[in-house]
């Protein structure tokens, strides 16, 4: 088999694609993962980071609810370093119909989700930021998940099982032999070179962009791009996930994730051509704040760090009924059966929560097509870094008296933290002061985690995700990248792109201290570092 030929080519470096690549390579298939940008640049990195218990779907979509709670339990075993078991509350406000609580609790019970009705006072003791006017509260096993880390862990583990990974490699067309897809035509954006890879099965795991990829094979998938916008608050307002106990609606989930809290989402149908240029509107910001403050009134007075939006890959109901073989959420299409196109599979719909199940279904289908009998292991084999114990116990296992930097590193890398050397003063010095990221963590990410620019590095390490939004870290990171990889001119261009991307997220909420800080950042770069106009 030549170096350009694979058993399976997975298109899309989101969590579904990375998960599918991991699953296939763990089953012994020769796998290639191609992604036009970086991992987690689509819907994977643009959601709440909510580890659903399934309770949100219990009433409206019991099948999704059951999938969620099963995957919830699995992820708590295989991806401990990506997850925080915060638990969640479903709050009834005076304007909500309290009788919905009974329906909700009953539906949770039927889906196998533990739902415990709490006295409102008890709920407020558990989460003091919750609206004191609540009339009811139900506790469920919600949590927080870091989608960047989850996606990167899947990608890294796929690589360790022999999977080849090509980031910044865009699929420009499919190689067809009659009615069979036999490969992908690509453009390598890093080198500018076109190329082709051949595979026995091609998996389309491109989220909303899967619509266009299927189109390359002449296949129509009825998809509806639905934009959802979210706001990031500058620090943790809540330690427990807060939901509204009513039929799912706008801005009714507040998730504590890492050092911040995230409120979302809105839902607006958009055009396919808008999917690559999403903007959060003032109306969305107002809606998120107004509804969010009903969950936790303190949001009215808490600094907002940035706003962002993602696109849900919703598959419309009028698509081929035979293709919706698993649930109304997950859509796994065998295009040979559905459209008469061989060697081509689409996995879409679903949720961040069910990525592993989606990957399993896609890999099952790939194996059936290849006549390969290996069993799925992803529900049992932990991801690299997933280790038993709390942040505290893992840190203390690795170091007698862990420093803040070491604690933060364990918070991100879990058990893999021990592979990052912090011994000498330089390696252990800070690059990112807000999130406590060291020189050696940045260097290790550049070396091992498919990092090509500053934005990639942010998705691996949280560099630039703190309150300074790149003010003190971006130029340091650019220096490390220039040295390790790209050279100064490219690092300078990366720096510009990075700062502009940070500003894009701040712009919709640019008032108060966020505006003040961004003005200061601009001053640091233009007046102190002298790279304003020439950048």
């Amino acid at each position: 088999m030549s170096t350009n030929t694979f058993d399976v080519i997975v298109i899309g470096g989101g969590v579904t694609g990375s998960g599918t690549a991991r699953d296939c390579s763990m089953r012994g298939l020769k796998t290639l993962l191609v992604e036009r940008h970086d991992i987690a640049t689509g819907a994977t990195g643009r959601n709440h980071g909510l580890l659903h218990s399934g309770a949100r779907y219990a009433v409206s979509d019991p099948e999704s609810a059951r999938e969620c709670i099963l995957e919830n339990r699995i992820l708590k075993k295989i991806a401990r370093h990506c997850i925080e078991e915060t638990s969640g509350l479903f709050l009834s406000l005076p304007e909500d119909d309290l009788s919905y609580q009974d329906i909700f609790v009953k539906a949770c019970g039927q889906a196998g989700i533990k739902a415990e009705v709490l006295d409102p006072k008890e709920a407020l003791r558990l989460e003091p930021s919750a609206n004191p006017l609540i009339t009811g509260a139900v506790r469920v096993p919600d949590g927080a998940v870091d989608p960047f880390r989850l996606c990167a862990s899947n990608m890294v583990d796929a690589k360790s099982h022999g999977c080849q990974v090509r980031m910044y490699t865009e699929v420009t067309g499919l190689v067809m032999e009659g009615e069979t897809v036999t490969g992908v035509k690509v453009l390598d954006h890093l080198t500018g070179q076109p190329g082709e890879y051949y595979g026995s099965v091609i998996v389309n795991a491109c989220g909303i962009w899967g619509h266009a990829v299927a189109g390359m094979a002449g296949i129509h998938i009825g998809m509806v791009p639905a934009k959802g916008s979210l706001l990031v608050f500058a620090h943790r307002v809540n330690d427990v996930v807060l939901n509204r106990c009513r039929r799912p609606a706008n801005a009714d989930i507040l998730v504590p994730g890492d050092t911040v809290s995230v409120i979302g989402t809105t839902s607006t149908n958009i055009e396919f051509y808008d999917c690559d240029s999403l903007h959060v509107t003032p109306e969305e910001v107002n809606l998120l704040l107004g509804e969010g403050a009903k969950l936790a009134p303190v949001l009215n007075e808490t600094r907002i760090l940035r706003a962002y939006a993602g696109v849900r890959p919703l598959v419309s109901d009028d698509s081929d009924p035979s293709g919706r073989n698993i649930s109304r959420g997950i859509v796994c299409l065998d295009h040979e059966v559905r459209d008469g196109v061989k060697g081509f599979v689409t996995i879409t719909g679903g949720k961040l929560m069910t990525y592993r199940l989606m990957a399993e279904l896609a890999a099952d289908l790939v194996c059936r097509k290849l006549g390969h009998t290996a069993r799925c292991m992803t529900a049992e084999v932990p991801l690299p870094g997933s280790e038993k114990g709390s942040l505290e116990s893992i840190s203390k296992r690795l170091w007698n008296v862990p420093t803040t930097l070491q604690k933060a590193l364990v918070g991100r890398a879990g058990g893999s933290a021990k592979q990052i050397p912090l011994a000498d003063d330089y390696a252990g010095s800070l690059v990112c002061e807000c999130e406590e990221v060291s020189v050696s963590e940045v260097d290790a990410a550049i070396e091992n985690l498919e990092v090509h620019n500053l934005l990639d590095l942010r998705r691996r390490t949280r560099v630039g995700m703190g309150t300074c939004q790149g003010e003190l870290c971006a130029f340091r990171v650019a220096g490390r990248l220039a040295k390790a990889k790209s050279g100064a001119p490219k690092a300078r261009a990366d720096l510009k792109e990075f700062l502009n991307e940070r500003w894009k997220g701040m712009y919709p909420v640019a008032w108060g201290d966020t505006l003040r800080e961004s003005a200061y950042t601009q001053w640091v770069y233009s007046e102190i570092l002298g790279i304003g106009e020439k950048l």
Binding site: N286, N300, E392, A408, G512, D513, E517
Partner: protein, 413 residues
């Protein structure tokens, strides 16, 4: 909606300009201290994520407040650091820290046997024992305890005379006036009486600043609540509360609410420092000062860190400059390094002396007659580390004033 930001001690107002770290005296001499920005607003975000992010090295913060003075964004950085110690540090204070923090109790024990204690703790063997057993640095000179405290003197010599004054104030003298430097309290009473104000004493307890530094949280809360209750009584009788120690004043005005969460809003503005009190009365034409004709002194003024935080050093400076025959030099702003009990600790001694060096060098270079300073622990540090004596401004005023002529000038007409 979003009209104001109410983050705890303003930590979200931080824009990471890092000026605080530049002005921190500790960061440049002790690499173990993360510095005010990391320990304060940055650390707060991490601690809110997980209390395990609390860092023991926060104990190296001197609480000098220079970071807060420097901060252009109004972040209460040192308050954040000490609130974090209060909220997250689960270690019980060691014996040494309890001993050092209980300035009040130690004074009570030492007083009856003051000459013995004073000569004992200044002997080398005793210093070595304290160094080895308690980690109190052997190079540290201790202030002398007095056999007769300020309150005893006041009761016997001054109290009876106070009723004859038309104006009355409540005096918060603090521990050092009571146990080590009663001359400060005596000078206060002399000056106040001369300008027509009678002095009342409160049933005061130690302000607790050393308990904050040493983590005696429940004890300091008791003291704070006691003092605030006393202040309420005084304020309800129309008495202003006047102190002679800058640190006690800052602690009772600002540390009680910011670090201990004790509401003092109704009495805070009634708590003042004698220099501010005198200057404002002079400025309003309510009192007059008459100085001796033959007073001569070359004085340097060391502004204590907490005086910088209060922003009131201008009052002291102006008062001292009113004295004919005085040449006053204000030293470049800098910490002397003692920070209350901080410099007594063995692990901090070297840092303490390194921090204070520029202050000592300036004083030595200027070779004044003596140093003026409102803070008693600065006094101990400077007297130990230079060849010069240090006097509280009220002591200098009492010395420079013609008290009889002043009293006559302030007689109601």
């Amino acid at each position: 909606m979003q009209q104001r930001n109410i983050s705890f001690n303003n930590f979200e107002q931080c824009i990471k300009c890092t000026i605080c770290t530049v002005y921190c005296p500790v960061v440049s001499v002790n690499p173990a201290f993360p510095g005010p920005k990391q320990a304060g607003p940055d650390g707060e975000r991490l601690r809110l994520k997980n209390k395990f992010f609390f860092d023991e090295n926060l104990k190296f913060c001197m609480n000098c407040k220079r970071c807060e003075v420097a901060c252009p964004s109004g972040v209460k950085i040192a308050d954040l650091i000490h609130s974090a110690r209060r909220n997250y540090d689960k270690q019980f204070p060691e014996l040494r820290d309890v001993v050092l923090a209980n300035t009040d109790l130690m004074g009570k024990f030492a007083r009856p046997v003051a000459p013995l204690v004073n000569s004992l703790i200044s002997t080398k063997p005793a210093k070595v024992v304290m160094d080895v057993m308690l980690d109190i640095d052997r190079n540290r000179a201790f202030p002398k305890y007095q056999s007769r405290g300020f309150r005893g003197w006041f009761k016997k010599e001054a109290r009876a005379a106070q009723d004859c004054y038309r104006n009355q104030l409540a005096y918060f003298h603090g521990c050092s006036t009571e146990y080590q430097h009663p001359e400060v309290g005596k000078a206060f009473v002399q000056v106040m009486n001369a300008v027509g104000w009678g002095v009342r004493l409160l049933k005061e307890k130690c302000c607790g600043v050393a308990m904050i530094s040493n983590g005696l949280w429940s004890q300091v809360a008791r003291n704070a609540n006691h003092n605030i209750a006393e202040f309420r009584k005084a304020v309800s009788r129309g008495l202003p509360i006047v102190a002679t120690a800058s640190t006690c004043t800052l602690t009772m005005r600002d540390e009680y609410p910011h670090i201990l969460g004790i509401d003092n809003a109704d009495v805070r503005d009634h708590i003042t420092l004698v220099e501010k009190f005198l200057f404002e009365k002079l400025d309003a034409g309510e009192i007059r000062l008459v100085f001796k004709n033959d007073y001569r002194a070359r004085i340097v003024y060391h502004i204590p860190c907490h005086m910088e935080k209060l922003g009131w050093s201008i009052f002291t400076e102006e008062l001292i400059r009113m004295i004919p025959g005085v040449s006053l030099t204000v030293l470049d702003s800098g910490c002397c390094g003692i920070a209350g009990t901080y410099g007594f600790k063995k692990e901090n001694y070297a840092s303490s002396q390194a921090i204070g060096k520029s202050v000592f060098d300036q004083i030595n270079a200027l070779s004044p007659d003596f140093v003026c300073c409102e803070c008693e622990t600065c006094k101990w540090q400077i007297e130990m580390s230079t060849a010069y004596k240090v006097f509280n401004p009220i002591v200098i005023l009492a010395e420079a004033l013609d008290l009889e002529a002043t009293a006559a000038a302030n007689q109601p007409r």
